[in-house]
């Protein structure tokens, strides 16, 4: 199957400056990282603070360039300067704080900003704005002022702003960290819908294990390296290994693991409420 994103053994160093601003050394933030995503895949990246997730994410839309190795997005190498614009339009990015990402004073103006900058003609902008707002369920708010919206709504407007540029991939770097439970659900639901319905490749970075259970595959990073890779079921069956990387398992999985340890006959890797309830109902019958 075709690899839409292919990151091959990349390394990245941040310069370490002394108090006068001279380079006194380097911090290796990424060290031999290889990650790939098929077209339309939903990938989650987990990892401790400082493990290199954000640094890696910035390589995918060519905000950073590897010191070693290569990054290829939709067949274009980020080292190829002529392809930079294309790569940046193809891979959109969403960050943690919705307030820093919204510039317009009216929702639809904000969403139009990206395509306007790309030089899209005005009739098409109108269409793109409408379809993007519909895709994230914010069409009814198109004439609202962003500062009247909740955090989850603002974050969905930021996603619509990226969508209006017709990306093939959206990279979300902790998009729900500042949101209330409902906002968190709205954003994850929007990401899943874009993936299912529009076939957009999603790279989600999160510290909420619950948000990772819907992805096709998970990569776990630690100290600048990829240390685990697999389906959510595979990854969340390895409680101890995850703990050693400062991670954990979803709350439902934790309950299942504790029940198993207490002697109940349960399988590994239970992720959702539904699965656990079904297993418990089976045990009750037996």
């Amino acid at each position: 199957m075709d690899k839409f994103i292919e990151i091959d053994k990349i390394a990245y160093d941040y310069n370490r400056l002394d108090e006068e601003g001279n380079v006194e050394g380097v911090n290796r933030a990424l060290d031999g990282v290889s990650i790939d995503a098929k077209r339309g895949e939903f990938i989650t990246i987990l990892g401790a603070n400082g493990s290199g997730k954000s640094t890696l994410a910035k390589h995918i839309n060519a905000l950073l360039f590897p010191a070693e190795g290569t990054v290829t997005v939709d067949g274009n190498n980020t080292a190829d300067e002529e392809k930079l614009l294309e790569i940046r339009q193809c891979a959109g990015m969403i960050f943690q704080n919705p307030d820093n990402q919204i510039i317009g004073t009216i929702v639809e103006e904000d969403v139009a900003f990206g395509p306007e900058n790309m030089g899209v003609e005005s009739k098409e902008i109108r269409e793109r704005v409408d379809e993007s707002l519909k895709a994230v369920g914010m069409y009814d708010y198109r004439e609202s002022s962003p500062n009247k919206l909740s955090g989850g709504q603002k974050q969905r407007v930021s996603i619509a702003g990226v969508l209006a540029m017709h990306p093939k991939c959206i990279i979300m770097d902790e998009p729900t960290a500042m949101l209330d439970p409902q906002g968190r659900r709205e954003v994850i639901r929007a990401a899943r819908a874009l993936n299912d319905v529009e076939g957009i490749t999603i790279i989600l970075i999160t510290h909420y294990m619950e948000e990772a259970i819907y992805s096709d595959r998970i990569y776990v990073m630690d100290a600048g390296r990829v240390v685990m890779e697999g389906t959510p079921k595979e990854i969340f069956s390895k409680t101890e290994e995850l703990k050693s990387h400062k991670l954990t398992i979803p709350q439902v999985t934790a309950v299942a693991v504790a029940l198993k340890e207490a002697g109940l006959n349960l399988p590994d890797g239970i992720l959702s409420r539904k699965e656990l309830v079904a297993e418990l109902a089976r045990l009750k019958k037996e």
């Binding site: 909740s150 955090g151 400062k246 418990l280 109902a281």
Partner: protein, 281 residues
């Protein structure tokens, strides 16, 4: 040290057409030594309320009292108050400003009058407790990851050894290991007598750690009680953008599947015990 808030109101851009009433006639008392959680939808007024309590914002109406003294009164010793109450902001970027991590965390203690050496000791201790290794002390607080910035910001306040610690979403952006460590640290500080006010979007965290939950909605206190009380009103919480902890939904589903478990459960440990009990009978 008791905190009392009486008829507190705050409007941003007060007196202009854009005025926003962020805190609306709130009254409450937080006795010394309590571990209080504040939850509420985005924009419900949590950050505004804690900044009023810390005296960083001046109320549009109403007052804040510390041990009965009005913090707005002329006689009130503000400098002393700064060393009693520490606040960690929601966005740590706004808190960091020095050229190195160590200098940043030393700033508060030095400002309080500690000698250089004492300040360095306090800062070192706080940084290590927050999981920042010595090798990183010389790095710029701007050139580290998001979660590392938050750890440094928390250390900066901890190093001042406050009596009341206010933390606005201190675990947002922390990895799960760090979240447990920080919350465990808060719990132990609370046990040693500190008053802790924790603003959080994680229902799981407040259910597990705090004594009392304040639920805010549109600038008002919507509910005030312990975890069991507050999370027994799931529908009302959902109406205002919140939720119960994940295990509460799990227990409801288990109950609906015909296994007779109690449903007023808010932590994973309780859930496990309750399911085992119900299956054995």
């Amino acid at each position: 040290m008791d905190i009392e808030v009486r008829n507190l109101t705050y409007e941003y851009d007060s007196g202009t057409p854009q005025a926003v009433r962020a805190v609306d006639d709130v009254s409450l008392t937080i006795p010394g030594g309590q571990f209080v959680g504040i939850v509420g939808h985005t924009g419900s007024g949590k950050s505004t309320l804690v900044q009023l309590i810390d005296g960083l914002l001046k109320p549009t109406a109403g007052s804040v009292y510390l041990d009965g003294e009005d913090i707005a009164s002329r006689k009130f010793d503000r400098k002393h108050m700064r060393s009693l109450i520490g606040i960690v902001f929601q966005y740590p970027e706004y808190q960091l400003f020095e050229t190195t991590i160590l200098k940043d965390v030393c700033f508060g203690p030095l400002n309080m009058g500690l000698k250089q050496e004492e300040a360095v000791n306090a800062a070192t201790d706080a940084l290590l407790r927050l999981g920042i290794p010595r090798e990183s002390f010389g790095a710029s607080p701007f050139e580290i990851s998001g979660g590392q910035k938050r750890r440094v910001a928390i250390a900066g306040v901890l190093a001042m050894n406050p009596k009341i610690l206010i933390l606005d979403e201190p675990t947002a952006g922390l990895d799960p290991g760090g979240r447990e460590e920080v919350l465990g640290l808060l719990k132990s500080l609370n046990e040693s007598g500190l008053t802790i006010i924790l603003v959080s979007h994680s229902m799981e965290d407040v259910a597990k750690y705090v004594d009392r939950i304040l639920v805010m909605n549109e600038g008002k206190i919507f509910m005030d009680g312990n975890g069991k009380e507050v999370f027994s009103h799931v529908e009302q919480l959902e109406e205002i953008g919140l939720a119960a902890p994940e295990v509460a939904y799990l227990m409801k589903a288990v109950h609906d599947a015909g296994i007779p478990v109690a449903t007023n459960i808010t932590t994973a440990e309780e859930a496990c015990g309750e399911i085992l009990r119900a299956l054995k009978n």
